[in-house]
Symmetry: C2
Subunit: 263 residues, 2 copies
């Protein structure tokens, strides 16, 4: 039996999160709409962070930047409030994860810059449109995410390792998977690695740093994409005074359709 979520649009998901009715992951909700990773920080180092994103476009493709002090992403979701409309947030201070919250209004200051970063749910939508099966969806789990041994290109005070998401596929499907996802450069694009995880410094696929463990079918190959959780690894490594992000898997759901991001 397939359950149809009553949260059909980005506005539905945001209203439920704002009302405190939704505090879980957003996978499968509002299936036609782009979801986004969130990073908020004081304007004092937002220029450096934007430079970091531009130097690392595969993990950090920027979809929208709000004015300092403005919590409304006016292009992707007019009327939304980034302080309340995600199901869950993480708060990083001085290089430590200090808190998980469902609302960050109390932490807001009028110099806060909010940045939305592309999310792999868009290319997952495209893969599904092509009839390609996704193991984590069929298993009812979140994707596996791993901190790699690949350093991002630093910018100002921002540095740290790239985080990747992993999805297993049968070998004959992998070429099409790479080709389809390449058409979404704003949503992490083509895979960064296909095959042996040791090449990324990942010792054990069964111990992800974020998300869930996935079961592999016989012969399945692990395929890795740069991941929008990277800024959270960067928050830990860089030790900036304050960075607020979404809680992994608990995304901001926009009003934009997935297909708008296909090149």
């Amino acid at each position: 039996m397939v359950e149809i979520s009553p949260l059909r649009t980005g506005a539905d998901v945001r209203a439920a999160a704002r009302a405190g009715e939704l505090t879980g992951v957003t996978a499968g909700l509002a299936p036609g709409y782009v979801q986004a990773n969130l990073v908020m920080m004081p304007a004092a180092y937002a220029l450096e962070f934007l430079a970091f994103c531009i130097r690392n476009p595969k993990p950090c493709p920027v979809l929208e930047v709000c004015e300092p002090g403005d919590p409304e992403p006016r292009r992707l979701a007019p009327g939304a409030d980034l302080r309340t409309d995600l199901p869950a947030y993480r708060v990083y201070r001085d290089g430590r994860l200090v808190e998980r919250r469902t609302d960050v209004t109390e932490l807001w200051t009028d110099d806060m810059v909010s940045i939305l970063i592309g999310c792999s749910f868009t290319f997952e939508w495209a893969l599904s449109q092509h009839g390609i099966r996704l193991a984590h969806i069929e298993q009812g789990r979140n994707v596996s995410m791993y901190i790699t041994n690949r350093e991002c290109v630093p910018a100002g005070r921002f540095h740290g390792p790239m985080v990747v998401s992993m999805r297993p596929f049968p070998p004959d499907v992998v070429p099409q998977v790479a080709a389809i996802t390449e058409r979404f450069p704003g949503m992490h694009g083509a895979p960064v690695w296909i095959g042996d995880p040791k090449g990324l410094g990942i010792e054990d696929l069964g111990r992800p740093d974020f998300g869930d463990v996935l079961d592999f079918g016989p012969g399945d190959v692990p395929v890795f994409w740069a991941c929008g959780v990277t800024p959270q690894a960067v928050a830990l490594a860089s030790g900036v005074p304050l960075m607020i992000t979404h809680d992994p898997g608990h995304m901001f759901v926009t009003d934009a359709p997935h297909a708008a991001y296909q090149v």
Copy 2:
């Protein structure tokens, strides 16, 4: 007779510009290498300008951002100096074009942020690879560029009209031209307008705001792309204290190959 330029690589072009031997346009030089639009400004408003670029990715696709005070684009051209390595610069102060120079070292301060923006020469290369003829190349001219009636999405103090470049093509070639250029989102991507220039507020194709007038073949259709000269129209409209740019057509030539930017 086809003249082969002795300036075959980005490094050749940069060295000639640095030595003062090259002060003209860069079209046709170092044909395999990406050329870029340049924008320099104090760090105090560079965050706002980067937000402007992110909100207007068709005219302002960012290829690289340098650290404040660093004139070397370490990723696209290690060892280069953006203060000397372009054939010609424009200096905008308080919303006015005040000077044209071949070196901006004297204007440099240690808070200057340099931003490189994609250039249509890359998709022109791709069109040529597909055997598509470019009128301005055959006529030995620069493309025509026009200030349109389309306002860019503002960001902070930055606002102003979009500038477009125009190239004429026979009607049967236009679909392929659109499809090929769409594959280069970092280099302005697909056209923004095909046909009647009045829809962009352009009254007379024979009076471009930048570049040269082009001759049309019988039945040729004008095709318009968002253009990296847009920041210069924005400098005029926004009246920021200081913005240094390349002189239109006098680009920064990088070490990056065109094909690296094809999606």
